[in-house]
Structures are given as C-alpha cells and as structure tokens.
Amino acid sequence: MRHFIALCCCLFGLLSSQAYSAESSTSTSPSANQPPAELAPLMLELTKAKYSKLLPVLKKIEANSDESMLPLFRTMMNGNLYFIKTNKQLVQLIEDANQKTYQGIFSQQLVADLSKRDVSKIKVNNHLRSYLRNAIARIQLTSSSAEVRKNAVRELLSSLDEETVTTLERLYSSETNQTVKTEMGLALAINTARQASLPNSTRIAAIERLSGSLENTARNVLTQLTNQDNPAIKAAAEHALKKITQRVERFGFLNQLFFGLSLGSVLLLASIGLAITFGVMGVINMAHGEMIMLGAYTTYVVQLMMPNYIDYSIWVAIPAAFLVSGIVGVLIERLVIRHLHGRPLETLLATFGISLILQQLVRTIFSPLNRQVSTPSWMSGSWEINPVFSLTLNRLYILAFSLLVFFALVMVLKKTSLGLNVRAVSQNRNMAKAMGVKTNWIDAMTFGLGSGIAGIAGVALSQLTNVGPNLGQDYIINSFMVVVFGGVGNLLGTLVAAFSLGIATKFLEPMTGAVLSTILVLVFIILFIQKRPKGLFPQKGRAAE
C-alpha cells in the first residue's frame, strides 16, 4: 500500500514537471512587433501562393529571418494561420471553448470585429508541415534555452542535409551545454559514418560513437552500412548494431509488458464491479456493461456542463458516475432482481432485457451516434523515457487508477461494517439474517456498490474508446471471463486474472494477430475451466458450499 502511494506521488510529480516544461518551451516567443521590412513582400506572397508554390516562399523567409519568425512558422504548422482579405495582414486564430478570435501574428494584438468571412486560411499539407517543423528546429538551434536546442537537434536527426550539417559543425565548437553538445556530436557522427569519401578510421570512430544510441536514425544508418562492401566498416557497423539491438529488444519487452498491464487494468476496471455483483452476490447481471456505459455518458454530460474546465471534469465525473450508476443499480435490484432471488435463469433474462432497455434509452436521449469525450490535457501525450520506450500517459493513469479503485474496494469490504455485512450475507444469508443483519438492505447496497464501480470504470473507458450505446456490450463478455477465470467471489483472483489475461493477449497479438489472439485466449479459458471449474482462486471452507 505504501509503495502504491509512493507511485501515485511519483506520477503527480511527473505530471507537474511535464506541465512546467511545456509552458517554458512556448514562452520563448520574441517580442518583435513588426516583421522586418524586407520580408513584407514575401508575406504578401504567402497570402497569394498555391500549395505547390508555398515552399519556395517559405524557404526565402527562412533564409533571411531569425527567431522572430517562429510564431509565424508555428502558427502555420498548426493550421491556425489566416490572413485578412482586405489588407492581407497575417493573423493567428485563437480558439477558446466557445469563441474564435484573431490576433496579429507579429503584433500579438487582438484584431477586433473579425468574422469568419473576413479572413481566409493559409492552408498547409504534410509536405509543408514537415518543412516547417524542420525550419523551426533549425531556427531554434541558436535558442537561448538548452532544452530547446537539444530538442531541435533531435528533430533534425532524420533530415540531415548539407546545410544543416555545416550549421551544426559551426555550432558544435561553441556549444557550452554538455547534453546539447552530446546530441550535436551524435548528429555529426551520423553524418560522418555515412560519408564514403572519408577515411575508414574516421568513419569507424563515428560508428563507435553511434553504438550506444537508441535513436532511430542512428540505427537505420548502421543497418545501411552493414550492407556495404567495405569490410572494415561493415564489421564495425555490425558490432555496433548488435549492441543496439539488444537494448532495443529489452525495451521492446518492457513495452509489451506495459501494453499487457494496460489492457489488464481496463479488464480489471470493467470486471471488478461484476466481481461484487456476480462474485459476491451470485447475481448474473447482464446489464453490467450498461452500468459502464452510463458512467461513460455521465462523463460526457459532465464535460458538456463545464466546457471551460475539461482538465478538472474527470474529478467531477468520477463521483458523479459512481452515483448515477449506483442509483440505477439500486433501482434495478429493488425493482427487479429482488423478486427473482434464487432463480438465476430468470435473473439472466431479466437483466438482459434491462440492458436492452438502457441501450435504447441512451439511443433515444443522446442519439445513436457516438459522443465525443475530450481527454484532459494532462492525460494526453506520452512520457518518453528514451527513443524506443515511451509510456502513454492516459494508459499510465488508468493503470494507477484501476489499482487505486481495487484497493479502495478491498478496504471497504475488509474494514467497514458495510463490508462485514456484505461478506456475512454472501457467506450465509440465513445465519446473517438470524444475527439481525438487514439482508434486503445489504443486497441493495452491494448491488449499488458493484454498479457504481462499473460507472467509475466507464469514466476511465471514456478516455480510451468510443462512447456510444454499444460500449457496454464490448466489455460484458470480457468481464465475465475475468471473474470466472479468477474464481467467483474472490477479488484477488479478479486482479490476478485481469492482469494475466491482459499480458497474455498482448504477448500473443504480435505473433498471431488481434483476431486469433482473442480466440486463443478464449480457448485457453475454456480448457482451464474444464480442469478447474472454480477458477484460479476457488473459495475454500464452509462458505464455498
């Protein structure tokens, strides 16, 4: 538990440092208010040229410019560059949650009273975008921030042309920051290793310099070199490549493991509520998936109500989804399941009917189309540990969140009086009744708890998949699979089952493809259940009947 808290702290620390770095990188925009006079005709050309003619114009702009052109290039790359039709002034589109405003690209001042019709967009395609990305990197090579310089060098690794190399060589000698210097050295080594005209010894030294690097470009250059005739170069490249491959494979394995854990966390979240309603209460609840769906739609509604605070919406959505799904769960229990106690077949049919009703209800209210749930900015992107190993943030948070929910639930069942009563009723209903436990009330609460947790799962799933009426159906089979595999009535079993199924699926997928891996996992579970009908962790003792 302590470790877990430490992990959470780590995550938050990481998050805040990331947010900080993002801010610092954007604050380097210069204060120049006007474009240099000699660039004015080029700016005018920018507003007139067609796609295919834009590149030469941009090249000219880059050739006689400095950091003051960064906002122009950046805005254009993001597709937010417009010009005012009447006076050809370049403006930047700024989109807030509910309104669009335009500001001068150099003056940074708001241009008032511009509507969509007054401006025209300067369009970009992939060609231009990749050019702009490199141009920005080239300009940033001389930036005052070491972090920016380092990223600029890395950006340019894959497109080293002569001009860039000369610039890098010039800057290399004067560079003071050690990390930036290392990156520059790497870039120059990549270039040197490629030059067939250079003497072998120089090239081999460069190849050795590349041998520890995980950068893609370094690896590709080495691979190309192993196909060459020059035996000395070939041997050196092969040696260097072997070292890299070993490291890459190790990180590839870690990557697979993370994918597996992430899928496991989704399975855990989806099935943990079912582990209570099905595992502890013994109710086959086919509407469990729809509880997840309700949670996801609750997230959507919460975001609709607070469009300006998307980043915080998740914190509101979690308790809201718990309440919505929990209340619906209690209602289902009180109105339907209670009357079918001890008749599993009828319960199955009734809950299946309820699931259809809930789906149709959502279709009627929200339309059959999928709804768009935004990802808060702190959950998007990835944490890049090195060039071959990065963890996507949303999945990392969901992994931590699923464990948090799991332990919270275990605590509720182990440490609270509600938990004590739940366990008493599930183990021996009549005896619990005789001891004065209100079994009716406990049943409703248990079902509400299970459904509420399914609702929370819905919040997490809304960040990963489509929010639509069929969301629940996609997860119901997997949920049952996990609970049965783990052993009915055992929360720890659910945890182990979810993660082992997740990891198994993800390690099978690259070998067999997504379709076959799902089938193989199902076949495995069928065989396993034949052998051990009570799952991984069967309940023991008198409670097991």
């Binding site: 992939n126 975008r129 189309l369 768009q372 996507t392 997504a514």
Partner: protein
C-alpha cells in the same frame, strides 16, 4: 377451364376495383432499402434522407413521365438476411420500380438473388471490393481501381512511400481490397517484406501493440504509409493511439477508404489532421453544383451542421441517371431502363461527367484529401480525367481475364476473354 377463367376474371375485376380508388396507380414507386436502426444506421440513414430529398426535388420539377414519385421506405435494421426479405417485399408487394439501397457488401450479396429472381433493379452507392456484376444492379460507388489503386499510386509517386501497412477490419471488403492491393504492389516491384498486412475485429479499441508494430515497421529509414480499410468507429481509437505514440501524419501517413465527412463529424479531429482519405467526392470541393447540393441538403435536414459525403454523391448520380434513363426509355420497365442506363451521362458534383459503363460501373474522378481540423478534407491530388470502374480486378489471377459487359453480343457479368465463355456467375 371455364370456371378457372371466371375465377381469374373475378379476381382481376376485384384487383381493379381495389386499385382504382387508390392514387397509387398514378405514381412511380421508389423503394429505399437502408438500415434505420442497428449498427449501420449511423451511415445509412443519411442515404435514406438523400433519396427522399432527391424525390422531393424531382416531384417539384413535375415528377417523372407525368407522374409523381412515391418513396417506399423500409428498415432492414442492419440485419443482412432481412435485407433479402425486405427487397422481396418491396418488389412483390409494393411493386416498386427501382430500389436504392444497401451499404455493406454482405447486405448486397443477400439482396442479389432476390433481385435476379424477381427481375428487380437496384442502385448500390457505396465504395466496395468489386468482383461482381449483375444485370439487376448498378454500382455507383467506387471499385478498388477507383479508390484504392489511385491512392497507392499517389503514395508511391508523390510521397515516395516504399513500405506499406495494409490494415483492415476482418471482413470481406478489406480482405478482397487488400488482396488486390498486395498483388498490385508486388506487380510494381514492392517486395513482400515491405508489405505488412494486419486484420482486427470489428470495434477494436485497444490498438497499442498494433500501432507499436506499425511504428517499428515504419521506422526502418524507408518511407512508410498505412493503407487503412479499418471500418466504422474503430478508427477513432486507432488515430488516437497513433497520436499518443507520437506518430504524426508526416512520419507515417494513413490513407483511409472508409473515413468520410460523416464519420468525422462531431469528432475531435486534432489527432487526425494531415492523414489522408481517397474518395470520388469531398464536401470541400468548390463547384456551383456542389454548393447547390450542400445548400439543399442543409435545408432538407434543417441542420446547418449537416455534412455531405461520397456515398451521398453516388446516390445523387444514381438517382438522376435513373430518372434520365426512365425518360429515355419512356417507361419504368426494368429491362428497358437497364438498356437505357448504359451510356447515361450526368455531371459529378466535383466537376466532369460521370458515365455509366457497359459493366454497370461508373466512370468517376478520384480525389485524395488531407483531413483538416474542421473535419473537412483538403484535396491534395486528383486524377486528370475520370477513371472507369473495373468490375473484375486485373490484378487478381482468378479474375484477370474476366470482364463484364451487359450489351449484346456478350451480355454477361462474368465473361472470360480468353475462353470466350460466360460463366453465369455474378
């Protein structure tokens, strides 16, 4: 004998008596066979509305052959066998003169025997895998050579792509299209090791390891692109995962054949910007015809945010060609209209003329567009002229020598040009 005649005479009189008071005899009936519920409703309901709009417009112009057109709308509910039942109902019970309908290939294959048995007529408006030609169906959507092959050519010639990932959902359209593409790429000298084929189930939501495989495949220093036949809403988590793993459209562009304006509407398109799609129509194409069509559609839907897409244009062309063919034939009789259809010309919404060919496929222009952040496409490439649809792919060994030609003397949907035989297959 006499009694029989008498009975039939009475029956006939009865039928006339029933028919006369109703106004149905004076209308031309058009069947609309699109799913209005179930998984396909998202895409198909827009086509139902398109047909209704076109009928309304035609009636305002005075109808057809002096009669009003009456739509008969049925709901096959995304249930493939139900498509066949509903088609039978439309032709036998409602006596429709033509059907506009169907989206998935499975549903078309389910309707086909019914159309042939009852000699009905259907217009099919969606891009598909080809390898079919029936006397009773006109295919106004794109065949693989009007969508997939030009897209791959664009990737090879304009973007310099040398490695290809063929990613698709696991069903008939992606499998056939990818088979054709694989054969085509190999014929262009792309070695087998530079082609990666991957299939995923419907509604795939966990793309982590597949995207990581694509990333690995695409980072070998050779320009790589993904050719995607991924269907429906599985696309959203796919593009999201691409963005999450830091793959931008500049590194590995994705060209999709099933992602259109309708699919993008109401989506966060930020992670998709710069990725490509190949179609015969984009809403963003600036022509007077298109502007008029979009305006009419928004008015008809009473929704200023309603979008148009490629299958809607295909429906538009199909409907108008049918109207012209009926005028030319002077009747709605299926055989006469079928003959009059071949050679029909109608202006595309994107400019140029669409022509109905002898194999019941259209000649259409091919456009490739980049996704913009407003959910629209920006055309980056288009064919110089129209491309005739190829019913039987030249790149598959089994259909290399096969053509379809519904004019005499061949009159066959599966004619082998080497053995000079008509197999009778569709």
């Amino acid at each position: 004998m006499k009694i029989k005649t008498l009975v039939s005479a009475i029956a006939l009189t009865g039928a006339t008596l029933v028919a006369v008071p109703s106004w149905a005899a004076d209308t031309i009936k058009v069947g609309v066979l699109h799913s209005l519920s179930g998984t396909m409703a998202i895409s198909e309901s827009a086509l139902k509305d398109t047909v209704l709009m076109l009928i309304k417009e035609q009636n305002a112009k005075g109808g057809l052959l002096g009669k009003q057109i009456e739509p008969v709308v049925v709901d096959p509910a995304s249930n493939w066998p139900l498509f066949a039942e509903k088609a039978r109902e439309l032709i036998s019970k409602d006596k429709v003169d033509v059907i506009f309908g169907s989206w998935t290939s499975v549903s078309r294959k389910s309707v086909l025997p019914v159309l042939q048995e009852l000699n009905g007529l259907m217009f099919y408006p969606v891009q598909f895998e080809g390898e079919e030609s029936s006397k009773n169906i006109f295919y106004t959507g794109a065949a693989p050579n009007q969508q997939a092959i030009p897209a791959v050519n664009y990737l090879m010639n304009d973007l310099g792509v040398k490695r290809f990932v063929l990613a698709g959902t696991d069903y008939v359209y992606p499998r056939t299209t990818n088979k054709i593409l694989e054969a085509y790429l190999q014929s262009k000298g792309v070695p087998a090791k530079d082609i990666m084929v991957n299939y995923t189930p419907f509604g795939q939501s966990d793309w982590q390891s597949i995207v990581s495989q694509i990333k690995k495949f695409g980072s070998q220093g050779i320009k790589t692109a993904v050719v995607s036949t991924i269907n429906g809403d599985a696309n959203v988590p796919f593009y999201k995962e691409l963005a999450n793993q830091g793959i931008s459209s500049e590194d590995i562009p994705v060209v999709a054949f099933s992602v259109g304006e309708q699919e993008l509407s109401g989506l966060d398109t930020k992670p998709l910007v710069g990725h490509l799609a190949a179609w015969n129509y984009f809403e963003s194409v600036d022509t007077p015809e298109n502007e008029k069509f979009i305006k009419a559609w928004k008015t008809f839907k009473k929704d200023p945010k309603a979008v148009t897409n490629d299958p809607m244009e295909a429906t538009y062309i199909g409907f108008n060609m049918w109207v012209d063919a009926v005028k030319k034939a002077g009747t709605t009789d299926v055989d006469a209209v079928e003959k009059a259809m071949i050679g029909q010309k109608f202006p595309n919404l994107t400019g140029g003329m669409a022509v109905m060919n002898k194999n019941h496929y259209l000649s259409k222009p091919v456009l490739i567009g980049e996704i913009q952040d407003d959910g629209q496409f920006e055309t980056v490439w288009e064919t110089d002229s129209t491309v005739p649809g190829d019913s039987w792919s030249d790149y598959l060994p089994s259909s290399k020598n096969v053509i379809a030609d519904w004019t005499s003397p061949i009159n066959c949907g599966h004619y082998n040009t080497v053995t000079k035989k008509c197999s009778g297959e569709n």
